[in-house]
């Protein structure tokens, strides 16, 4: 209750700050969102602002989809005190759609970005650091800082990439290695109030991944945070519901799914695993141990045993004994270890795709008929010989 009161006081102070004309007038310096459309190829250290940018065969590119910047305001209220207000940068979410191909070390802000065969890409929805305010007097003071958010709407995609970090939710990764997918990250209000030697510091949680629905397919070493995530035919995936720092909560409502995967850790409850091997499930959702091991895979064979762990809470799980692995489960595991791309003639498995490797030959689409012609002719000759012998 006391905390709520303090927040209210801090909010009121902030409201007062912004109610002053000087503060309102000071919210200037806005840079309109550009339409972008820049492109960089074979370049190093390029910064593109405005959205719709593309980078190809480049290194160290920063792509931003329009940015809004405001300047801080300082209001002097007589001799006894000073009020400061700050409204900072924001990047509109999903207004751009930057692209990086065959690039290294690209940072893409704004959501809706795409990385293809790239290494070390950071993709986020529109980040924003919104409002900070302080009221200072000789004897007392108050500071309030209101949310910093990174992510907004995600919707970023990465394929055949290595070391991609995606923030914002609804991201997807395919044939990638070492992808971290998260819902929006937000630092909720924090406030400090002091009078003389006494001070109270108040902080609300840092939250990672309130919205999930990220997907990973044929990927290795993926970390998915926010719940509602899905991993298909992947290896070494960690799926978690949202993470809150105060009180420390990992998992929340999970609802993650994995199919045909190996070595998946699911945190948050309500998770399901189908046709997977070595799955660890932690959380307070439905009991998944029995369900998991009995769920048919897409091919109709029973799924493998999943060394499942089910607990009453996201932070204090209890462990149940893992069930055994069936023969069909092993077959499923084999399927998992053979990504669909590896079955193609295109040489498009995760590793080769990431490294830009090409198949040894172009797709084969022909048919050699000469063998059939020779075979037919040989049959006719043999048949003629047999008939001749029959007559004699």
């Amino acid at each position: 209750m006391k905390h709520h009161t303090l927040v209210s006081v801090a909010g009121a102070v902030a409201a007062l700050v912004f109610a002053t004309p000087a503060a309102a007038d000071s919210l200037l310096g806005t840079t309109p969102n550009g339409s972008g459309g820049n492109s960089a190829s074979n370049s190093i250290g390029t910064i593109q602002i405005g959205g719709g940018n593309s980078a190809s065969d480049s290194g160290g590119t920063v792509q931003v989809s329009g940015i809004t910047v405001t300047v801080p305001a300082v209001v002097t209220a007589g001799k006894t005190g000073t009020a400061k207000a700050r409204a900072s940068a924001s990047v509109p979410a999903n207004s751009a759609g930057n692209q990086a191909d065959h690039s290294v070390g690209t940072a893409q802000l704004g959501g809706g970005n795409a990385a293809h065969r790239s290494i070390g890409t950071v993709q986020t929805g529109g980040p924003s650091a919104q409002v900070g305010a302080a009221v200072l007097t000789p004897l007392a003071g108050a500071i309030v800082n209101v949310p910093v958010a990174i992510g907004g709407n995600g919707g970023n995609t990465a394929d055949h990439s290595v070391g991609t970090a995606q923030i914002g939710g609804s991201n997807s990764a395919s044939h990638s290695i070492g992808t971290v997918q998260s819902g929006p990250v937000s630092a909720l209000p924090a406030a400090a109030v002091w009078a003389g030697p006494l001070a109270l510091v108040f902080g609300l949680p840092v939250q990672i991944g309130s919205l999930g629905s990220n997907t990973a397919e044929n990927s290795i070493g993926t970390v998915q945070i926010a719940g509602g995530n899905a991993a298909t035919q992947s290896i070494g995936t960690v799926q978690s519901g949202g993470i809150v720092s105060s009180p420390v909560t990992v998992g929340g409502s999970g609802g993650n799914t994995t199919s045909g995967s190996v070595g998946t850790v699911q945190i948050g409850g309500g998770n399901t695993a189908t046709g997977s091997v070595g799955t660890v499930q932690v959380g307070n959702g439905p009991q998944t141990t029995g369900t998991t091991s009995g769920t048919p895979s897409t091919t109709g064979t029973p799924s493998t045993a999943t060394g499942s762990t089910a607990g009453a809470g996201g932070t204090s799980p209890s462990t149940t004994a893992p069930s055994s692995t069936s023969a069909t489960g092993v077959a499923g595991a084999h399927h998992t270890l053979s990504p669909k791309s590896a079955q193609t003639g295109g040489g498009k498995n995760a590793t080769s795709g990431v490294l830009g490797a090409l198949p040894k030959t172009l797709p084969f689409t022909g048919l050699a008929l000469l063998g059939f012609v020779l075979m037919g002719a040989a049959m006719i000759v043999l048949g003629g010989g047999a008939l001749a012998r029959a007559r004699t």
């Binding site: 791309s341 090409l358 689409t365 008929l369």
Partner: protein, 225 residues
Amino acid sequence: MNGFSPEPGRRQSPRLSRWLGIAAISIGVALLAWTAVVRFWHDPVTAVYAEVEQHRLAQAYDNRFAAYHSVAQTLGVAAARYRTATREGEPLGWITIHRLGLHAVLVDGTNESDLTRGPGLYRGDFLPGEGHLVYIAGHRTTYSAPFAYIERLRPGDVVVISLPYGTFEYKITGHKIVTANDVAVLRTGRTEQLILQSCHPRFSATHRYLAYARLVSATATHKPN
């Protein structure tokens, strides 16, 4: 002592030899007839399978198109998302080439199974609208042989590719014949280009015939809400 005792192992009966001869000749004639049909048309046996698969793919694509919804603001982003969301063997869209009399469902992937169902898009490259290489391969003699007469394409011929997020029109600019292991042609450039590929010459796998086309128009799909 008399002529009624045969000599086993030395000589077949005339009747058996006659039937074996007739059977061998029949098989030989059938093989030659089949190769003639394939040579001057295409393989009718595998074509039946391909037509059935095309029908299935068309139905699947109709459902996919009806459910498709994109909030992407650029064709490039929509294309990238669509590419990552599509799995191998699934229908991508339609490809139409009037010069070849082709109107077929485009399949995601170019492995052996994919190409038995229709022309396939090489998964290592890009989709139309992404500003890079779009590489499509198709059979030349079997499975309806979508690219049977790829060498008849002439500069200026139109290739239309319809996808859920847009329709793309390309015009043929030329062709090139490369060896089967010249995989450098799969590497994308910095501009959008379409390559149609089939084996060359027909009935051989030593070379590949590549028909090049450039993008001339791209129209985003606007679906009513």
